[in-house]
């Protein structure tokens, strides 16, 4: 046996110190959206991070080139699967921009209402999941319960809970149901109550605050340089909201605030989302007051929207119109356009190219969380492993739209 007091060389006592590689994801509980982050660690500090996306790549853009413009709606549903209605509305607006048509007033209000409900949904999931990943499971359940209220409304309106496929070029698949306003009016107070309970549990919790405050801080300039939009940009103090900067639909008639942060850290991103839920509720209340109870929902153009069913059943003109649209699709004039709306995560853009046929020539999406995830590496380098979780959570990466 070696004598204990043997003189060892200094270097023999040093632990091997090449940086440690750690794979986070793609199937990590906190990596919602299947993303893999390869971390190079020195101790618990991250020296290098490599964010690898693409695990949910489904060739959405290519698939869209196969069918008609209308057949893209089920695909856009599955982009941001937390708020599919915002994608439906965004895509419908993009095609309508190409066609140069405006949907009737009632439909505009309806789209705003459904869109805001989806936005609330998006923020609830993001904040709830972020809290859950930090160990606070109860707030997540409260958020999930609140989201359930919205999903019930969606199911009643569109016929499906998540994949609504409800938008159509030139209108909506169906007019609002008779109980739509009542459902939203009765659901919102309950929803706000649940949001309040969530905040009561989280905002005075020191563990939660310690893990959010000052973590993942980003400056306004960096955020702009990275192309961030939405709550991630607003948390840095830049009050840019597409609904305000370039109002579409009827957002110019709505009174609402754009919540901005001051430090650009995780806490600000969390709070911006919480405040946006309240602002969305405000918008919804105004929409419900202003939305006409009757009137057309679809535009009156037989080349774009399907004729009413009774006409299809009984008249030859209706049948032919119907066949033309179903078989060939809506003919969109040749050209290209970029249309952008404010989705849950920021600016959701669709860049469309048409060759004049009923099939898209090219559909390009500008997903809001793609830019956010691109900046993740900068945010977590130099931080600790536990900081990755809330920082990644507050980016609200949605694999479906990120991997386009």
């Amino acid at each position: 046996m070696e004598p204990l007091d043997e003189e060892l060389e200094e270097s023999a006592l040093e632990l091997p110190s090449e940086p440690m590689q750690l794979n986070m994801g793609p199937a990590h509980p906190a990596m919602h959206g299947t993303v893999r982050i390869v971390l190079e660690l020195s101790g618990e500090t991250i020296t290098k991070a490599d964010v690898q996306i693409g695990y949910l790549h489904r060739g959405f853009e290519k698939m869209c080139e196969r069918g008609t413009w209308t057949q893209c709606f089920p695909y856009v549903d599955r982009l941001n699967y937390v708020s599919p209605m915002l994608n439906n509305v965004g895509f419908a607006l993009a095609v309508e921009k190409m066609l140069g048509v405006t949907v009737p007033e009632r439909c505009q209000y309806y789209r705003v209402a459904l869109g805001e409900l989806a936005r609330i949904c998006d923020h609830l999931v993001c904040n709830g999941a972020m809290a859950m990943e930090l160990g606070a499971f109860t707030p997540f359940l409260y958020c999930a319960r609140a989201r359930e209220i919205i999903w019930d409304i969606f199911e009643e309106e569109t016929g499906a809970r998540v994949t609504h496929s409800f938008g159509r070029v030139g209108g909506m698949a169906r007019p609002p149901t008779a109980m739509f306003k009542d459902m939203v009016r009765s659901g919102l107070p309950r929803l706000l109550f649940m949001v309040g309970e969530t905040e009561k549990l989280l905002l005075k919790n020191r563990i939660f605050l310690d893990r959010l405050e000052g973590v993942g801080r980003v400056s306004k300039e960096t955020a702009f340089a990275l192309g961030w939009t939405g709550p991630t940009l607003r948390s840095t103090g830049a009050a840019y909201d597409v609904r305000r900067a370039h109002p579409y639909l009827v957002y110019d008639r709505m009174e609402f605030d754009v919540p901005v942060g001051s430090a650009g850290d995780n806490y600000d991103r969390f709070m911006c989302r919480q405040e946006e839920i309240r602002q969305s509720v405000r918008i919804l209340e105004q929409v419900l007051d202003q939305m006409p109870d009757s009137g057309p929902v679809n535009i009156d153009d037989p080349r774009i929207v399907l004729p009413p069913k009774e006409e299809v059943y009984t008249t030859i003109e209706g049948t032919i119109q119907h066949f033309k649209i179903v078989m060939e699709g809506v003919k969109v004039p040749a050209g290209e356009c970029y249309s952008y709306t404010e989705a849950g995560n920021g600016e959701l853009g669709f860049y469309l190219v048409s060759d004049g046929s009923g099939t898209p020539y090219r559909v390009r999406i500008r997903p809001p969380c793609f830019a956010a995830v691109a900046g993740l590496q900068q945010l977590i380098e130099g931080a600790m492993i536990p900081d990755v979780i809330p920082t990644f959570g507050s980016m609200n990466m949605i694999g479906g739209e990120c991997d386009h």
Binding site: L93, K97, T102, E156, T163, N205, D252, D268
Partner: protein, 223 residues
């Protein structure tokens, strides 16, 4: 309220510059920093929910999860003992509607299979036999197959049908089977499903030759 301007969703006029409403930063009061007081407050909040729910459960005052889904307390639906009725617009399993004489309404126009984004409908049109009143007037589906596993339940087929021959108003979700081929629904099966009201007939008022209610105009008489 802002002035009412005619908004055009595709021109997107530049809006007013926005100031933004600054969200509050966390209040690091002594109470928060001490952790424990707030910890117990939070515990109190969850406990309040817990005891209230337990009490309601024990005393049988539990809110009806379907009718009072917005009330406080547990609104978990104990599926399958309790079921939430599917809404009117719910898109469930497909069905083929029938004519008065029990034959399928479908005329095999292939609109639905064209409109289907998942390409899960397969129809083989067939001609009526010689001598049939409908021969030369319309076709019928020799085989009509829907792969319910591929289907994304978008409802485009229903929208595309010019005859009200296919519907998704059965009010059923697809049943989980243990093998894939059981999800391939054939014409005969699709024809057995009824709507929620138990009705199999269609609302399409058009009467083709061969229907008992057909007024008797044939194509030959027209030309």
């Amino acid at each position: 309220m802002a002035a009412k301007t005619q908004s055009t969703p595709w021109t997107k006029p530049a809006g007013k510059p926005t100031a933004g409403k600054v969200v509050p930063r966390p209040a690091r009061t002594a109470q928060v920093q001490a952790y424990l007081p707030e910890f117990f407050k939070g515990l109190g909040l969850t406990m309040r929910h817990f005891f209230k729910n337990t009490k309601e459960m024990m005393l049988g005052q539990k809110a009806d999860p379907v009718l009072e889904s917005l009330s406080e307390g547990i609104t978990t639906i104990m599926y399958p003992e309790e079921k939430r009725p599917y809404p009117e617009r719910f898109r469930g399993v497909h069905r083929l509607t029938l004519r008065d004489d029990g034959s399928p309404r479908c005329v095999a126009c292939l609109c639905c299979s064209t409109a289907c984004p998942a390409q899960c409908i397969h129809i083989e049109p067939a001609e009526y036999p010689v001598g049939d009143a409908r021969r030369g007037y319309e076709r019928f589906p020799g085989s009509f197959v829907i792969d319910e596993l591929r289907c994304v339940f978008c409802g485009f087929c229903v929208e595309a049908c010019p005859c009200d021959a296919i519907r998704m108003d059965t009010g059923h979700h697809p049943v989980p089977y243990d093998s894939r081929d059981q999800f391939i629904y054939k014409k005969e099966l699709l024809m057995t499903f009824t709507g929620r009201d138990g009705e199999r007939l269609t609302e399409n008022p058009r009467h083709e030759p061969g229907d008992p209610s057909h007024p008797g105009i044939s194509r030959d008489q027209h030309h």
